[in-house]
Subunit: 211 residues, 2 copies
């Protein structure tokens, strides 16, 4: 087990290369993350006992940023031809998963009340339909740009959300259902989407020949 | 997008089967999770403004339980022969990943200050060494039992941890380093391990022929 820039990482014979990228990702994102956390602490300290609350939500944001950085690194290590590889024989192409993750993250903007979607045009190819059901109508370069744009927008908007806002309901649940189950909040959405990103990152990793 | 037993799930043409298992997993775990949450709220309410804090940590625990339930479901859908399949050609066997996840989760017990490890004997085959470097010295049935035992122990111990304890340092960081970065806390460890479990769940999913 190794300690990588502030996080305990699982470093094993078999898994070393898989997770080592996270350290590099964090290395790049580290100073920015520290700044965002300071800002968040400054803002919330004025409101009383919410500095502690910011630690809870910053931990969740940190886990989100780690997996986004890992995916960033994997996508940028591949050219467009490599992007068209299947993660396993007969399974989704990396290109499809990149578009899928972009569209799912784009949907987080309205779902978390952070703004309008940036790329609803991705849904048809990458959410509604399975891989290769439609022809590729969006070029890899455009999907790469959308991936970066959506995650950058999300990261800024999420960092600006005060801790208590994370405990409010997300926009796909009714007031009545939220009253019955307060875990149907924005924070839970962020956390299940972090797992979802990890799920597909694990698959994409299998198709990497380098790294 | 569909709402599954209290959580927003991403349900798409391509991904429906992948995530539908989460709903079934939650279905089984639901009543237990509700009980644990009620207990946690009762306990912490006495301490002042910590009911809100319990919502932050319960959200993280919820995400953890979802991915454990998903893995439980995948492992129990396979017989021992199926467990020996590779997740992709030349990659880890599901059996190895089951042992790896069990050992990594077992390590969470001392790392989070929740007790002694239950199965340190798994490290050599499933953490220190890559798949198939050593002969299989632990039978699939024993790894299945250890997987269930470790996660059951962890889930109970984590549910009993008061919210403020989650913000304390984990046991692999020094006081000095923790003072510099308060995100090196137990909650961050839980969240990165949730992503890690999702990472390998995505890989295991590729080798499933049913479900």
């Amino acid at each position: 087990m190794g300690v990588l820039n502030g996080k305990v990482a699982i470093v094993t014979g078999a898994q070393r290369r898989i997770w080592s990228g996270i350290a590099r990702g964090l290395g790049a994102a580290g100073p920015q993350m520290a700044r965002q956390q300071n800002l968040s602490n400054r803002r919330t300290r004025k409101q009383g006992n919410v500095t502690t609350e910011a630690l809870y939500t910053n931990s969740a944001l940190h886990a989100w940023k780690l997996i986004i950085a890992r995916l960033d690194q994997m996508f940028s290590s591949m050219n467009d031809d490599e992007l068209r590889r299947e993660v396993a024989p007969g399974r989704n192409r990396i290109f499809y998963l990149m578009g899928h993750l972009t569209a799912v993250h784009d949907r987080l903007l309205p779902l978390l009340g952070l703004g309008e979607r940036l790329h609803p045009e991705l849904d048809d190819d990458f959410v509604t339909n399975a891989d290769r059901v439609t022809a590729d109508r969006v070029a890899p370069e455009a999907v790469r740009r959308a991936w970066s744009e959506v995650n950058a927008r999300l990261t800024v908007a999420m960092a600006a959300l005060p801790p208590e806002e994370w405990l409010k309901k997300h926009n796909a649940v009714s007031d009545e259902d939220f009253a019955k189950d307060p875990l149907r909040n924005r924070l839970s959405v962020l956390q299940t989407r972090t797992t979802h990103a990890g799920f597909h990152a694990g698959q994409i990793r299998l198709a990497l020949t380098k790294g």
